[in-house]
């Protein structure tokens, strides 16, 4: 008795392509396929064709082999599209897994008794591997989205604005961790060089809590700016935060702190020998 080969599976798939496809589509809609209709039919037919070709070319059950490249690409597109549309990984994997039943039915009819278990085993292995691959891709797609959002958040949350010639403001929103401090610090220092600013106002109105770590990060930023020749003023300290700072025994040293950004701006203008005066009409 010769073992059941991938090539034989390919022949069966090719010969009964139409039947298997029809059966598969029924199974898919039973399993709650997300998009029954023409598109689903097209993708399914293409998938079957590519799997047939891959098996014919002697591809084994290792789906990371080069022979499976086309199939993998198809699944990649499918998983990515579905991840974007908000389907669960299970729904995506069902696309592949629902092919099992039609294929097993067909094998039962085509392969005689002794070799059937080998045939089923091969089919299971191939389909499982492909199914798991979609799950993996789905997850990767999600992770990409999360990573992109994280970088966007990081960029969005650390703007450096110029208030006046030589005066920068850095409105901080959200908690300061080491990663963000690094980005904030680099942004601020680069802007100091670009604009030749001598004063920077760090506004922490949007920082929910200031613990010793956040304070340390703030002081680091202030120290780095000072090394470049720019003085920092910390503003936007809410009453609650002032209490926390004192209770924790955080030493802000010689850094000037102000309650509001307006006060800090006034100090900054004073340093640049500027005054805000009412216009002549008054």
């Amino acid at each position: 008795m010769s073992p059941f080969t991938p090539r034989e599976l390919s022949t069966i798939l090719q010969t009964h392509q139409t039947d298997i496809l029809a059966d598969w589509l029924v199974r898919q809609s039973e399993a709650g396929a997300p998009q029954p209709g023409g598109e689903q039919r097209q993708v399914s037919a293409q998938f079957l064709r590519l799997v047939t070709d891959a098996l014919k070319d002697g591809a084994g059950d290792r789906v990371d082999a080069p022979a499976w490249t086309d199939v993998r690409e198809l699944l990649e597109d499918l998983s990515r599209a579905r991840a974007r549309e908000g389907y669960t990984p299970a729904q995506t994997a069902t696309f592949v897994f629902s092919l099992k039943r039609p294929l097993f039915d067909r094998l039962q009819r085509e392969v005689n008794g002794d070799r059937l278990s080998g045939a089923v085993w091969l089919t299971t292995q191939v389909l499982d591997a492909l199914g798991l691959y979609t799950v993996e891709l789905h997850q990767k797609g999600r992770e990409e989205v999360i990573a992109r959002q994280q970088t966007e958040l990081l960029e969005l949350s650390t703007p450096v604005v110029q208030l006046w010639d030589g005066v920068l403001a850095l409105p901080l929103i959200g908690t300061l961790d080491s990663n963000r401090t690094q980005v904030v610090m680099e942004n601020l220092l680069n802007r100091i060089v670009e604009t030749g600013s001598r004063t920077a106002i760090i506004d922490i109105t949007g920082v929910p809590t200031v613990d010793t770590l956040v304070a340390q990060h703030l002081l680091k930023t202030v120290a780095a700016a000072r090394l470049m020749g720019a003085d920092c003023i910390i503003s936007g300290i809410r009453p609650q935060i002032a209490q926390t700072i004192v209770h924790l025994g955080v030493e802000l040293g010689t850094v000037i702190t102000k309650a509001t950004l307006a006060d800090a701006f006034k100090v900054a203008l004073g340093r640049h020998h500027l005054v805000v005066a009412p216009s002549g009409a008054a």
Binding site: L189, V193, G196, A224, R226, L227, G229
Partner: protein, 127 residues
């Protein structure tokens, strides 16, 4: 052996560090600078490190030392033109160079020295 040139600009000394600062060079600079301050009776020292892109704790300490020595010799030191990366490195090394004055560039450093001198002479010695 190469040296870092020390230029006299009025009553100030200008030191422009344009090569990678290795330890021996830093020590030589310390020697030369203190000697020059005494010889020229300089009132201030500007150290321009805008072309310096590598620092370690030794260089950081040396900058602090030079500032302290100049102060003893009655000259203010201003370190100017520090790059963002260098500033971040020094802060991460825990050296915030507290006793050293800093400025963005030679221009504002010079201004800072003038202010400091005016403020000092306003205290009573007269112009």
């Amino acid at each position: 052996m190469d040296r870092i040139p020390i230029l006299k600009l009025g009553e100030y000394l200008l030191v422009t560090v344009q090569v990678d600062m290795h330890d021996q060079l830093a020590l030589t600079l310390q020697d030369d600078l203190t000697r020059e301050i005494v010889r020229t009776r300089a009132r201030g020292v500007l150290i321009d490190i805008s072309s310096l892109d590598l620092v370690d704790s030794f260089i950081g300490r040396m900058l602090a030392n030079i500032a302290a020595m100049s102060r003893v010799l009655d000259a203010e030191t201003v370190v100017v033109g520090m790059r963002p990366a260098v500033a971040i490195t020094l802060v991460e090394l825990g050296m915030s160079l507290d006793g050293v004055r800093t400025a963005l560039n030679v221009d504002s450093g010079m201004q800072l020295l003038r202010y400091a001198r005016d403020a000092a002479s306003g205290d009573g010695v007269g112009h």
